[in-house]
Each structure stands twice: as structure tokens, then as C-alpha cells.
């Protein structure tokens, strides 16, 4: 069986405009990785190592400078307008800061509902029902659909962001520092929720994080990034017991010893 996602020699470049002469900054530098169906691949690295850019390039939220991304046998970087829309249905994302990633002018019901409408997944009333189910699935109440994002706590907002991502019934989720902004207790709850959802829905995760502490709980394998490259990729247990690269050793040494 082939991998769900195959990334080969992917590079992402940004143009730095601060200087007089614009110059290209290479955020992701020739990265290759595979994500197997049903697994959680954690992408770990210090700030600025290119993990968020990599996640966004895979989803075509930022353009790739070079390389290829194969998702379930199709070339993501070559998708036409319509095919890209179909891809958006199957691959979704949860961002770090749910306060910023949810439209403040929309009520929760509309936020969750919009994806369903864009992809014409349900008629009017069935859609409402689906929104209600989704909200309950992530541990909120169906009544919350009429409230606005600012009325919720950070953890609840991230649950809304997860419900919104799940609304289009994706098979693949990029969790871009999805629990990094949450406090420790809420983080544990959301991680539990993500694990439950993965089990019930058979989801595949690309889990981006900057510290190892959360990764140990959820990841099948871990890829360590440094300066735009993957320096190490190993199953979670073996990486934690015997990190090979200096970058992984440094990140491991930085885990605070807090009992879950």
C-alpha cells in the first residue's frame, strides 16, 4: 500500500522585502517525507525551522518553489481550479491560534457550515443537523452554533476550529501547532479529542509542534526539522530513546518534566 502523502524535494521560498534588494529566503529546502494512512507524523523543530511553511505548501496555501506533493496518487501542485477545490475537501487544517483563525464576524454555526455549503455536501436542514452533530462530536453543544467565537475560551475555540475542519469530512488533517497556544490542561483534553477523532474517523494527521512534550502522546513517527531540512525521521519510541541528530537531542533536553 502506498503512502497517503508523498512529498519529494519540496522547497518553499519567500521574498524578503525589507532590504533594498529583494532576496529569496528558502524556508523549506528540499524536504522529502511520506505520511502513511491512519498514522500521525509529527513535524518538530524550533521556531523558524520551516515546519509551518512545509505544512502550508503541502496544502497549497503557499506556493512551492520546487519539488512535488503526491496526495493519494494525484499531484497536488499541478491541480486545476476544480481539482484543487476537491482536494480542499479531503485535506484540512487546524491553525495555532483559534482566536485569529475563526472569522470574528461569523457565528459558529456559519463558520462550521460554510465548508459544507462550498462543497455542496448537504441540503439546508440536513446541514444544520450536521453542524449540530459536529459541535457535539468535538465536545460542544448544538446551541453554541448561534454564538460568536469571542464568546468562547481558547480550548473551546480550538474545538470549533476542529469541527470546522471536520465539516467537509477530510481524510487528512494538518494540525499546525494546533495545541501550542493552549494551557497544559486544555491541551491534554484537545489531544485526547484528536486521538478519539482519529480512531473513529480513520484520520491521518500531520502534527506540527515546536516541543517534544506533546508529540510523545500522539505521534506514530517524528520528523525533526532544522533550517528548512528534515534532519531526522524515526518512530516516536526510538527517537525518544535514542535521538541521533543534535537537533533532536537539544529538543528532547528541553522537555519540561511535567506529569500528564
Amino acid at each position: 500500500m502506498t503512502a497517503l502523502l508523498e512529498v519529494r524535494d519540496l522547497s518553499v521560498e519567500y521574498t524578503a522585502r525589507d532590504a533594498n534588494a529583494p532576496r529569496a529566503v528558502r524556508a523549506v529546502d528540499g524536504v522529502s517525507l511520506d505520511v502513511q494512512r491512519g498514522e500521525t507524523l509529527a513535524l518538530v523543530g524550533e521556531s523558524g525551522s520551516g515546519k509551518t511553511s512545509l505544512g502550508r505548501a503541502i496544502l497549497r496555501l503557499v506556493p512551492a518553489a520546487a519539488g512535488s506533493v503526491q496526495f493519494d496518487g494525484t499531484d497536488v501542485l499541478a491541480l486545476s481550479h476544480d481539482a484543487l477545490k476537491a482536494f480542499r475537501r479531503r485535506a484540512q487544517v487546524v491553525f495555532q491560534d483559534p482566536k485569529a483563525s475563526l472569522d470574528p464576524r461569523m457565528c459558529v454555526g456559519d463558520i462550521v457550515r460554510e465548508g459544507i455549503d462550498i462543497h455542496a455536501l448537504a441540503p439546508r436542514e440536513a446541514g444544520d443537523l450536521r453542524v449540530a452533530h459536529l459541535l457535539e462530536e468535538v465536545g460542544l453543544s448544538a446551541r453554541d452554533a448561534h454564538r460568536f467565537p469571542h464568546e468562547f475560551s481558547g480550548g473551546e475555540r480550538q474545538r470549533i476550529a476542529i469541527a470546522r475542519a471536520l465539516a467537509v469530512e477530510p481524510v487528512f488533517l494538518v494540525l499546525d501547532e494546533a495545541v501550542s497556544a493552549l494551557d497544559v490542561l486544555v491541551r491534554a483534553q484537545v489531544l485526547d479529542l484528536l486521538a478519539t477523532l482519529q480512531a473513529t474517523r480513520g484520520l491521518t494527521y500531520l502534527f506540527i509542534a515546536h516541543d517534544f512534550a506533546v508529540v510523545e502522546r500522539i505521534a506514530t513517527r517524528v520528523a525533526v526539522m532544522q533550517r528548512g531540512r528534515i534532519v531526522e525521521c524515526a518512530p516516536t519510541a526510538s527517537l525518544f530513546s535514542a535521538p541521533a541528530s543534535p537537533a533532536a537531542q537539544a529538543l528532547l533536553a528541553a522537555i519540561p518534566r511535567i506529569p500528564w
Binding site: 487544517v93 491553525f95 491560534d97 472569522d103 464576524r105 462543497h119 469571542h150 476550529a161
Partner: protein
């Protein structure tokens, strides 16, 4: 809510009092009076001058005139417009609807056009469309309305005869036309003055709206909207615009006074018999009561506009309405 309304009302009253006083004081410093042209010639005997000025109370010391005038104004008596041989109220009742039509049309057209331009610019950010439209709006902001008005009048009016050069309606038997024909005639006469003012509004709105949109486009929820599978136009229309339009609506309310200022000149140029034209003539004739009334109407207009645009900005932004951030 009632308290807020009361506060607004008191604010408005204070503003009006300050404006009226300023106008009175300024008019005292300005040379001449209503009879300067008619009476101050060498062939008019001094006794006649004194008699006429006494009849209208112009011989009293300024402080006493101020008190008398203030009391009358507070009672709602706007006085008599000597230059028009009509009560001030009648003059205003005639002219104000025409100005509201002109400014209202310009505001609506300009706002809609400005938002559209900004959406187009944001959609094609940093490409040639953005640059061309940006250059146009810069010109629109920089060129004063009266110059635009003269250019439009010369080319579209006098040279090409597409629109009438001046006036509010066709002369002659136009009064006997059926209603819809008279309305078309009115719109035809409205096109140039309203168009010129609308261009000025559109340029300002577009520049502010573009900046606001570009700010919002950097937000995370825009990335979320794209990830949902929305097309770029829908991202702009459904997520960026609702979050960026509030300040621009509020700005519109603040910009209204300057629009009225521009309308004075535009009305003058196109012979549009509105408040601007009235104020202009009243100033030349030193018709004090009419000047004060015209300025007060403009002031009230500005205050009302601010209240209305605040209310609209609140309505399109439920986040602000629900309070608790």
C-alpha cells in the same frame, strides 16, 4: 440607550451653539453689512443710511445684537432672509432637499464604486490592475472637486453635449411633462454634479478600503477560508470585506462635512440651487440669518451622518454590537 441618545442630543446642542457663535463673531469681523452695496455710495445721505441700519437693528452694539439674536435662535426663529425676500425657513426648505439628493446620490454611488475598486485592487494586489486603479484614486483624491467639475462641464457638457451644463431641470414646458419624464430630466441634470462628487468620494473610500482589506487579508481566518475551498472572490466578499468595511463606513460619516464643503463649489459651478449655492449667495449678500442657518444645517447634517454611520457600522459588525470582547 435613552441615556446615549440624550447625551448625543446635548452634544449636538452644544456643537450648534458653538458653531452659531463662531459664525456670528466671524461675520462681525468681515467688512460690510447687508446694506453696504445699496447704501454706502457717495450719493446716499448719511441720515438715510442710519435710518435703514436702525430699522434692522444694525446700529446696536454687537453684544446686544448677539444676545437678542441668540434668544431668537434658541426659540427656533431663524429669521428673515433679506436677500431672498423670504423667511429663512422657506429658503432652507427649498434648497435642502436638492442638496440631500445631490450629496446622497454622490455618497451612495461613490461608496459603492470605492468598495468595488478596493476589492478589485486587493484581488489583483501588486499587479497592473492594482497599480492603474491606485494611480486613478490618487488623482481623484488630489484633484479638487471644482477642477474636476470644470473639466467635466467643459467636455461632457459644452463640447460633447452629453449632459446639460448647468441647472436642475430643463426650462420651458418641462413643468408640464409627466412625472417619469421629469424624473429622468432631473437625473440627467444630476449626473455631472453628482458624478464629480461621487468620484471624489470613491477615490477616498477606495484608498481606505484597500488598506483595510489588505490588513485583513493577512489574518489567519482568511487562510482558513482558503483552506475551506473558497475561491479568492468569495474569500474577499464573505470574510475580508465584512471585517474591513466597518471603519470605512465610519470614515464616510466623518468625511461628510468635507463633502458638503465640496458640494458648495460644485453646486455653484453647475448652478444646482441647493444649500451650497444658497450659502455662497448669502455670504456675498451679507445675509446674516441665512448664513447662520446654512452653516447650522451643514453642522446638523454632519452630526446626523455620524450617528447614522455609527449605527450602520454597528449593524454590519455584530461583534461590536454584542459587546464583551
Amino acid at each position: 440607550m435613552a441615556r446615549r441618545l440624550l447625551r448625543r442630543f446635548l452634544h449636538t446642542a452644544v456643537i450648534c451653539a458653538v458653531v452659531a457663535t463662531s459664525v456670528f463673531v466671524l461675520m462681525q469681523f468681515a467688512p460690510g453689512d447687508p446694506f453696504a452695496t445699496a447704501l454706502d455710495g457717495p450719493d446716499v445721505p448719511p441720515s438715510v443710511r442710519a435710518e435703514w441700519r436702525a430699522r434692522y437693528g444694525l446700529d446696536l452694539p454687537p453684544t446686544e445684537r448677539f444676545v437678542r439674536w441668540g434668544i431668537a435662535l434658541a426659540r427656533g426663529q431663524l429669521g428673515y432672509a433679506a436677500s431672498r425676500r423670504q423667511p429663512v425657513v422657506d429658503v432652507v426648505a427649498d434648497a435642502l432637499p436638492r442638496t440631500l439628493l445631490l450629496v446622497g446620490t454622490a455618497l451612495l454611488l461613490g461608496f459603492a464604486a470605492g468598495v468595488w475598486i478596493a476589492l478589485l485592487q486587493t484581488r489583483h494586489h501588486r499587479r497592473w490592475q492594482d497599480r492603474v486603479l491606485g494611480a486613478c484614486t490618487l488623482v481623484g483624491v488630489a484633484v479638487p472637486e471644482f477642477l474636476l467639475a470644470l473639466v467635466a462641464m467643459t467636455w461632457l457638457g459644452a463640447r460633447w453635449h452629453i449632459f446639460p451644463v448647468a441647472g436642475i431641470g430643463s426650462l420651458g414646458d418641462a413643468a408640464g411633462w409627466p412625472l417619469w419624464e421629469r424624473m429622468i430630466d432631473l437625473a440627467w441634470h444630476l449626473a455631472l454634479p453628482a458624478g464629480v462628487l461621487a468620484l471624489a468620494v470613491a477615490s477616498r473610500v477606495a484608498r481606505h478600503q484597500r488598506a483595510a482589506l489588505l490588513g485583513v487579508m493577512r489574518e489567519d481566518f482568511i487562510r482558513t477560508a482558503r483552506a475551506k475551498g473558497l475561491g479568492e472572490w468569495d474569500v474577499l466578499r464573505r470574510h475580508a470585506l465584512p471585517n474591513a468595511i466597518g471603519p470605512v463606513i465610519a470614515l464616510l460619516g466623518l468625511a461628510l462635512p468635507s463633502l458638503v464643503g465640496g458640494a458648495v463649489l460644485v453646486e455653484r459651478i453647475f448652478g444646482w440651487p441647493g444649500m451650497g449655492q444658497t450659502l455662497f449667495d448669502a455670504l456675498l449678500a451679507r445675509d446674516y440669518p441665512l448664513v447662520v442657518a446654512a452653516v447650522l444645517v451643514a453642522t446638523l447634517l454632519a452630526v446626523v451622518a455620524r450617528t447614522v454611520t455609527d449605527a450602520i457600522a454597528n449593524a454590519v459588525a455584530p461583534r461590536r454590537a454584542t459587546g464583551a470582547m
